[in-house]
Structure formats: structure tokens, C-alpha cells
């Protein structure tokens, strides 16, 4: 671990505003602390409803924390102050959400180029980079298709490279491959790892699939049921580059799987 973590979450707490006529809301997350260092691939696993998406939303500053601190490059996010949030921290944190959130009125290429366009960084060089990424994930030939004309896996790929295209130093991923069939998922995991090996970005990857958490990550955090806290931490030392299809046969895999399984309730 480096001395100064890139991203630090300390004593984080979150509860949503109460609705009229209901009891005070319960804490979704309480006393959650962890740190991520530069270039690390962190996977986070937890039971459904354990506030994984909420956690990522708070890191991306889409949502505001109720207590604690979220610090990125030693800059703290506002607490309980939705108005001064800075979504994406000026393009330093990319976010691949659970749904693909492609713009239905834009073609695949236009969707991938969207961040570059709104950031005013669309030029021949970035455009060429986008085209390289499109080819790398097998979307060549589908550039002028609209999202409804793509399959689920293709939409997922488009949304993945839409974040990669503007090269944010940190990328958050919220169960990006959750809704896909096993075959497509493995393929996308391989694509992701290959792209990651090229750039070595910092990735925080949320999933509910233990095998996926082990196969991709340098380190896995296990979250408890709500209010979520860190229930366990596992450093994964399986050498890279990894063979995702054969990872189940790795001697380290079985032990990790068992101990993580025991912690995920």
C-alpha cells in the first residue's frame, strides 16, 4: 500500500430522507471505511440491498453522504449537501452504472463519443482512440446502430467504452455484467482485464458474484448486510495476466471462494 491512498472512505454513513408518516429511516451504510490506492483493481461484494450502489453513487458524488468522509486525492466530498456535489469530480471519476444508460436517440458511435463531445475534447486523436476501443470490444460494424438495435451485451460494451474513452483515472463499475448470460459475461470480463492491463487504472468494481470478484480483483472487500460495513478483506495474489476461463482451477481460488462465501450472508 502506498502511504497516501488515492481514494479514502472513512466512517461513511448514509440514510435516506424520511418520508412523511414513517419512522426515522434506517442507516443503509454505517461506519464503512476503506482505502484504494492508485492503479488498484478493488472488487466489492455484498448481499443485495447492502448499499453497494449507494456507496458508488456517493464516491461519484451523484449522492451525498450522511456522515463520515469520502476523500479523493485528499479532497473531501460535501456531506449532507446535495447542492455542492460535483458529479464525476470534473471527469476524474468515471462510472459504469448497472443499466447501460445509453442515449436512445444517439447511435453507438455518438454514444461512445458523447463524453468527449460534452467535454469539448473531440478531435481526430480522441476519435481514433474511440474507434480503436469500438473495435477492441467487437462493436465494429455497429457504429451507426441505435441502442435498441443492439443486444444487451453490446449495449454493455458500448457503455463500458463510453467511460474508457475519456480516460478517467478512477472508474467505478456497478455490477456491469450482472444481467448477462454466462458466456457473454466471461467475454466481457476478459475484455475488461485486457483493457485494464493496458492502462492500469484504478477500478472499484461492485458485484454479487464471488467468482467474478476473485477473478478480476487485486483485493476484495466483503460488505455486511445493512447497515453495511466491511465484513472482510481478501488480497488476491493470483498472478496476472489471468485466465478467467480457467481460474476456478487455480489452487488459491477454492480457499478464497470458501472464506468469502462464509462472510457473505
Amino acid at each position: 500500500m502506498t502511504a497516501e491512498p488515492l481514494l479514502e472512505v472513512r466512517d461513511l454513513g448514509k440514510r435516506f430522507a424520511a418520508r412523511a408518516g414513517r419512522d426515522a429511516p434506517a442507516w443503509v451504510i454505517q461506519g464503512l471505511s476503506f482505502a484504494v490506492s492508485d492503479g488498484e483493481f478493488l472488487t466489492i461484494i455484498g448481499p443485495s440491498g447492502s448499499g453497494k450502489t449507494t456507496l458508488l453513487n456517493m464516491i461519484a458524488q451523484i449522492d451525498t453522504a450522511s456522515s463520515g468522509t469520502v476523500r479523493f486525492q485528499s479532497e473531501a466530498a460535501p456531506i449532507n449537501d446535495a447542492k455542492s456535489l460535483n458529479p464525476g469530480l470534473s471527469c476524474k471519476i468515471g462510472y459504469v452504472t448497472q443499466e447501460d444508460n445509453l442515449l436512445p436517440w444517439r447511435t453507438t458511435l455518438q454514444n461512445v463519443l458523447f463524453p468527449l463531445r460534452v467535454q469539448g475534447r473531440l478531435n481526430d486523436k480522441t476519435r481514433a482512440h474511440a474507434e480503436t476501443l469500438i473495435k477492441a470490444v467487437g462493436l465494429a460494424g455497429f457504429e451507426s446502430h441505435y441502442p435498441h438495435e443492439l443486444s444487451g451485451g453490446m449495449r454493455k460494451r458500448a457503455s463500458l467504452i463510453r467511460t474508457l474513452v475519456y480516460d478517467p483515472p478512477v472508474i467505478l463499475m456497478d455490477e456491469p455484467f450482472g444481467a448477462l448470460d454466462a458466456q457473454t459475461r466471461v467475454q466481457l470480463q476478459e475484455d475488461l482485464l485486457r483493457l485494464w492491463e493496458l492502462g492500469r487504472k484504478t477500478i472499484i468494481f461492485v458485484t454479487h458474484d464471488i467468482a467474478e470478484a476473485i477473478a478480476l480483483g487485486d483485493r476484495t472487500l466483503v460488505l455486511s448486510r445493512a447497515p453495511a460495513q466491511v465484513a472482510g478483506e481478501h488480497v488476491i495474489t493470483i498472478a496476472r495476466p489471468r485466465d478467467i476461463r480457467g481460474i476456478m482451477g487455480h489452487p488459491e481460488f477454492g480457499m478464497l471462494y470458501q472464506s468469502i462465501r462464509a462472510q457473505v450472508q
Binding site: 451523484i62 464525476g88 444508460n101 436517440w105 467535454q119 463510453r162
Partner: protein, 306 residues
């Protein structure tokens, strides 16, 4: 690399096949049945009560023909019209020489002008008020009132204010269209997908970029639904204002026909109104289909059926 994608793109936009042909045939059948009923009614009741289809068709035909002839004459200059060929092909019945076309053009002009004056601010207003929910809330009851009030009852007032010329008709059409389009555009903005906005903000989009790339394109289908509903109202508004007081336009023609007990004349004007509505609807269709080509065809088809 990973080019061997296991999932293929879904094949879409089916070419109009049997289903489309079938529905076209069915429509033709319905048209024939309606025409048969019309012929039967006109034959049993007499053309004094129900204008005969044949009379309507001949009058419209003669009118169109002479209208075209006049237009050609205008374009070619008077020399050609007085030529032997011109005299030979000159429509024999010049009683209504292009009359319907001229009246229809007035009505169309009123409807289009009123539509533009009403619809453009109505579509723009919810965008301007998007960041001011309080203002939207304050004006809401007044907008609902304006939407619910019978606009046709305003016609006498507008005639008083703007005279019996086209201004009063344009004003009536504009106010009718305004409220319909306003509520459609408002619904479009309220149906905005917050997740798309968050995605765009994380990707670095400014407030303006969000409005341009997400809010506006998302609202376009709703605005077009408003246009589609408002379009017949714009023609109807113009015609009704003309019925009340005018010296030209299709509404005037209807009024004139009724006063002269010229039932066929009334029918001719009604058919002309219907034709304009058809063409208007068709134009909205074409523009909409082009603007909304990103939509899944199932959606588009559901839209057409409604």
C-alpha cells in the same frame, strides 16, 4: 481481439409485408362501405339533405382543374391561355373557378400561422421554466384553466378585438394549439430519465449540454404527440372562426352553402377540410418518423395506432 461476439444485433425495421398490405386492403374496404352508405343515404333522402358523392367529386374536380389551369395560365402568361389549345382545354364550368382552392388556402394559412404562433412558444416554455419549478407550479392552475376552457367560446371576443379578418382566426388557432402543446412538452420534461442526466453529469456535461443532449431529445416524442393532437384542432379552430364571421375561407364556404341550401357545396367544403387534416397529419407523420428514427419500431407502431 474479441470480435467474435456471441450476440448478434437484433434485426429490426421489418419491411411492410403481408400485415401492412392486409391492413391497407381492410382500410379500402371500410372506405368502400362508407362511400356506399353515403350513396345510399343521398339516394334515399335526396341531395337536398345529403349531398351526393358524385356531385361533390365533380365540383371538386372541376374546381381543382380550373385552379390548376389558372395557375398554369399565371405561370405561362396570358398569351398561352388565349391560344387555341388553351381555349379548347379551358374548363367549361368556370362558375367556381378555383374557388375552393382559394378558400382552402386562406383556411390553411390561418391554421399554419396560428399553429406556429401557438405551438412554438408552447413547446419552448416548459424548457425555459425547467429550472424554475416554483414558477411552473404557480402558473399551473392557470394553464389547466386555459386548457379546459372552451376556446371556441373565445371566437366572438377575438372577432371583437382583431376584426373579422384573418387575425382573429389566427389568434383563435394559436390559443387552442398553445395549451395542448404546452402540456405535452411539460409531460416530456417531467418524464426525463434522471439516470441519463446523472450519467451525462458524471461524463462532464454542463447544464446546457444536458438540456441539449438529454432533456430536449427526450421531450421530442411528447412534443410531437402534442403536435399530432393539436393539428386537427388548428384546422377546426380556423374553420369555426370562419363560420362565425368571415368573408372567405372554407368555414365561410360552409356557411354560404348552408344559407343557399346548397348541401353539396357544404359537403364539398367539408371534404376539403378533411383532406387538409389528412395532409397535415401525414406531414406530421413524416417529420416525426424522421426525427424519431432512433425509436424501436414497436413503440412507433403503437404510436401510430393510438
Amino acid at each position: 481481439m474479441a470480435a467474435q461476439s456471441s450476440d448478434a444485433a437484433v434485426e429490426l425495421r421489418p419491411t411492410p409485408g403481408r400485415g401492412a398490405l392486409r391492413s391497407r386492403m381492410d382500410r379500402l374496404l371500410v372506405l368502400v362501405v362508407l362511400l356506399a352508405i353515403w350513396v345510399a343515404l343521398s339516394a334515399t333522402l335526396g341531395s337536398y339533405w345529403v349531398g351526393s358523392p358524385w356531385g361533390v367529386v365533380t365540383r371538386l374536380g372541376i374546381d381543382l382543374w380550373s385552379g390548376i389551369w389558372h395557375a398554369l395560365a399565371f405561370l405561362a402568361g396570358t398569351g398561352w391561355t388565349e391560344s387555341a389549345l388553351g381555349l379548347m382545354t379551358r374548363p367549361t364550368n368556370l362558375a367556381s373557378g378555383g374557388e375552393i382552392l382559394i378558400h382552402a388556402s386562406y383556411t390553411l394559412y390561418e391554421a399554419v400561422a396560428g399553429f406556429l404562433i401557438g405551438a412554438i412558444p408552447a413547446a419552448a416554455l416548459p424548457f425555459l421554466l425547467r429550472r424554475l419549478p416554483i414558477v411552473t407550479a404557480i402558473i399551473d392552475p392557470f394553464m389547466v384553466g386555459g386548457y379546459g376552457a372552451p376556446k371556441l367560446a373565445l371566437a366572438p371576443l377575438f372577432i371583437l378585438w382583431f376584426g373579422i379578418g384573418i387575425e382573429s382566426k389566427i389568434a383563435l388557432v394559436a390559443i387552442t394549439v398553445f395549451f395542448i402543446v404546452y402540456f405535452s412538452a411539460l409531460a416530456g420534461i417531467r418524464a426525463l430519465d434522471a439516470k441519463l442526466v446523472q450519467m451525462a453529469q458524471v461524463a462532464g456535461a454542463s447544464e446546457r449540454a444536458v438540456a441539449r443532449h438529454i432533456v430536449f431529445p427526450g421531450a421530442v416524442p411528447y412534443i410531437f404527440t402534442g403536435f399530432r393532437i393539436a393539428m386537427p384542432y388548428s384546422i377546426g379552430g380556423a374553420v369555426i372562426a370562419e363560420l362565425i364571421s368571415a368573408n372567405r375561407g372554407l368555414g365561410y364556404l360552409i356557411q354560404l352553402g348552408a344559407m343557399n341550401f346548397d348541401t353539396t357545396g357544404v359537403f364539398v367544403a367539408l371534404v376539403a377540410v378533411t383532406c387538409i387534416v389528412f395532409v397535415g397529419n401525414w406531414s406530421v407523420d413524416i417529420v416525426e418518423r424522421w426525427l424519431l428514427r432512433w425509436r424501436p419500431p414497436a413503440d412507433a407502431r403503437a404510436e401510430l395506432k393510438s
